[in-house]
Symmetry: D2
Subunit: 338 residues, 4 copies
């Protein structure tokens, strides 16, 4: 951390800031320039609130020189982390396709879709049992029954399963039936939930919050990693901007940025990122072209009658057409799709 003093800062103000830092246990390296003095702060400033210094007389700005996250950063672990679940490897040369319905609706629905996912080359089956809905008047998911259906459909088709957890009390159940636990965008900073997920043995997909900076997503992962669970997969799914023609603005650039800053894998969810079926296909292609380690796509055997998010679910034949295209794009950048 660096404390920049004002040009007009007095000697006594500089001494006061130095004293404050010493009291907090830090060493100070002063650099007295022609125009202004700059104080280098030596020590672990990761949990130091920079505003404590900013508010002191004579200070003009306080700048961080270290990333606030540690375990998630590439400087902590330079090589890519590959997360393996039942032989499926996320973060390696293969781009993993995760597909399935928004919500599990019935045994026959999830089985029919699981067969399709397997056939097209998908490796992981997605499906919601506990649904976060903006309106309390909307369908809220099948709950435990849904988890069991997911579990059976995935096993029967040799697929790995993923589903969303909404609260701490659901974790135990999720662990019993599901292979990968998903944290939704609205819970990205639900710290109580993240802490608990730090103590389980299953991989966690952490979706980027609607207004979360990439740095904050890396910090949220830190809650899980520091608890002992090192299997975190990031997921870009669109951020909130002023644009109104799309539901969210999918930040494709987050993919190369995260790959550079962190050793953990990142996948993309164009279904939620864009929200309308006809835009999902170009965005899926774009995400693979930009280097995503996986794609999470909503598909439904009968989107027109889906109980939730039907408008952003692909038709089965759309998925069957899309995968070979994605495979060809992956090949261009030296990757594969199974």
């Amino acid at each position: 951390m660096i404390v920049v003093m004002k040009e007009s800062a007095t000697e006594s103000q500089i001494r006061n800031v130095t004293q404050k830092l010493n009291d907090l246990g830090y060493d100070v390296h002063p650099d007295r320039g022609v125009n202004q003095t700059i104080l280098g702060v030596v020590g672990d400033t990761r949990s130091l609130d920079s505003r404590i210094l900013e508010i002191l007389d004579g200070v003009t700005e306080v700048l961080r020189v270290t990333e606030p996250y540690k375990l998630a950063s590439r400087s902590f672990k330079p090589s890519d982390t590959i997360i393996e679940i039942q032989g499926v490897k996320i973060g390696g040369p293969e781009v993993i396709v995760i597909a399935g319905p928004c919500s599990v609706e019935s045994e026959s629905q999830i089985h029919e879709i699981a067969v399709l996912v397997r056939k097209t080359g998908g490796k992981i089956l997605r499906g919601g049992a506990f649904k976060p809905r903006t309106s309390p008047y909307s369908f809220q998911g099948l709950g435990v029954k849904g988890l069991k259906m997911m579990c059976e459909a995935a096993k029967a088709n040799h697929l790995v399963s993923i589903s969303e957890v909404m609260e701490i009390s659901q974790i135990e159940l999720m662990e019993q039936y599901i292979d990968i636990i998903q944290v939704g965008a609205r819970n990205m900073q639900n710290y109580s939930l993240l802490k608990e997920l730090g103590h389980i043995q299953k991989p966690v997909v952490l979706k980027r919050g609607l207004s979360a900076r990439i740095e904050e997503m890396l910090m949220a992962a830190e809650y899980i990693l520091s608890g002992g669970n090192s299997q975190v997969i990031f997921c870009e799914r669109g951020i909130r901007t002023f644009e109104t023609y799309t539901r969210n603005t999918m930040d494709i650039s987050a993919i190369p940025v995260v790959k550079k800053r962190s050793h953990l894998p990142i996948i993309a969810d164009p279904s939620h990122g864009i929200g309308l079926r006809d835009k999902i296909i170009p965005m899926a292609r774009a995400a693979v072209a930009a280097g995503a380690d996986g794609l999470m796509i909503e598909v439904h055997n009968d989107p027109d009658n889906a109980l939730s998010d039907g408008a952003q679910s692909l038709y089965p034949e759309q998925l069957e057409q899309l995968i070979p295209e994605l495979r060809a794009i992956a090949k261009v950048i030296g990757r594969t799709i199974g």
Copy 2:
């Protein structure tokens, strides 16, 4: 809800959309204009996902004509809701001052501050026991011990108390010690938590999420209201924008907008909205001038050594100067500060 057909829409497309709506249980009023046909949808469309229609052939746009929230809306209840806790009325002519530290740190700290709050005219004591922190390496609060200290300090000074709940398992404890339960910005769409708060008998302060539209805040309240708890107080605390000179951008205009759309009270939290002590005072004045029903301000007996958010806590003497100013501004618009 209104479905706008393309100018080029065919008769068969119009019939198809009409059929789809009928299947979903809605009546349709077609309005055949010179250029295009518009279909009025009759029935309760509050939980209908408009994208199901948007994706149909021949449709150009789907527009809502009713607000998606109901119990929170002023058309449902035209008169102001006044929430009374031990004689303190929020939403009436008096502007209520809520003050206290970011975190409860010790018995002496919270007592000293409670005395100050009472003396300056504050009616409610704030203080965090469970703290949501961006970094897992930061101070996380005193927990139950903190709640007990809050409870005693408030009672001893004839103040109402407010503190933040972070997860469902804490609700029972909160109910035992605290008068008003606060839902933090990061939990504004933690639907599991909101549902549980719909079943308690205590008022809930619902803070606006960092990237929440006002409409979404009203929808979040709907989760609590529809559970049977009608005592919801909104809190504007700053939204996320591209500006970097302030921590958040406090949306003062949310105050008159919420007052018009909803019958529920709205308070403002300039401490979190702005994040630096020297800007809090002008923003507190602005919030009262714009019609806020209350102000939540962080104050600390020793901000320089606070364990959290010291930089956004006022010094005791600053609070003592501020309140009379706010009282004079309140008077200009026909309100009082106790």
Copy 3:
């Protein structure tokens, strides 16, 4: 346009709104529902300020049912517009590569780069002569001398040229030396400039403003189109969001959205969208995969010593590697790169 009355609206309020609309020359189709009355406004409401109605007593909302733009919309012209300049076709099956330095710096620099662009398969040479810089203390471009250098370098290498216009007085000069006129992001709503460009015979590349909604970009095109110049090419180059790890957030989804709403071509500029060399390559791939009609890329013979934007300019060998990759991706979606 549709005026939604409040549930509590009185007959006299409905009459008043109807009268106001009649006075403005519109017919009104009332639709009296069970809960509320909706007034359909018949006539060309493109230039009607909806707030005039919104402010009337008894009105709850005013909704547009027609797009505010006309000549730019696909409903006005359903088939793709292909813009041809000296045999180069933008908007057809070929994805056009536009490359060159940020600023023209010298004759040898622009010639050397032009040779490279031609060799790698680029069709259009870019280069700035008049530079919009955030700081008045930065390099402001070579002016007319730069235009002449551009012109010669392009001709000598059988390339089309493009350069940015900053003010009306420069248009005449630009027309003399340059083939395609570019309007920068900061001038997207410089209406005086747009109007003048409506009267020239050269194609205009209109860059999306940093905070422009797609609808506003289409409206800005309307200024040019309605003046008689039908050759407008949109350019996505990143929007402003809260993210701080990238300079802007490139909105890749704008590509399929514009292709659906408008008949005009859209290209992408990943150099400005992302701002750092190492992220440009994945974003260029993503833009082609998402369906862009062209790519504008900054390349420099000596980026480390460029007078402006060196950090976002590719090295020559990077461009030589990138183009074959883009060509392979284009092929996957049935397009070519020359």
Copy 4:
């Protein structure tokens, strides 16, 4: 400027960055910490593009320690700048009220409004002659005729006048008829226009762009100031956010932030900031309470029939009620309204 090297940076990378900086004419102060090396850059880095360094091997981040603006900054000129026009002082203890219609429509209209403005205590008459409109199909202003009408109405009522300039060619005319030149939000970064305004002798009101950071507004002022015109007045008028219930989000906190960073005055324009008449009054109060040096308010003798922005114009009687309220609020913070 400070260059932060990666923990893994090699000696040769550090030497390379140092060399690059020396080549650019800067001295380097290295600070070798336990974990990483930090290079302090000595010299005027105001026009140095930090990305040139960011892209070098071994560099993790580049931080500015000096503000990029100079003449606008309070460290350059610590005392408040007061701008005086015909005895009206902006930036002193008096809060100046600027009022008038969106557009000048006729002689009688502007005269009638000027009388009202004078009577209520306003000091400056606003009114547009050249109008920037999102749609080319909307009313574009009366042009020169409008300027003349403004000039006469202002003089007849002992008011100072202000009107918006849209392009360089209009400056001469504006100078002839108008006292204060306004640069609209969409032109805040129209550098050609700003440069020209640096050469005139009249005060300039510079409106904040819809997506402009405060820092960029200060930089835009630098274009005018460095040309020799030191009379710049900032104007906060709302920024673009994700909120849809208001037209823009008025950033009231920009007022205290600008007052701290710059010596120049700042006024607020709640009419454009909020866009609907019924919210303007609370926002006007809030702006005065937060310390604005002036208020720009749209008022119309007949808002229901205004040719532009009628919905955001106050009725005459609303202005007459508002001013005494603002005066009372100003008094609370030690200021006056004439």
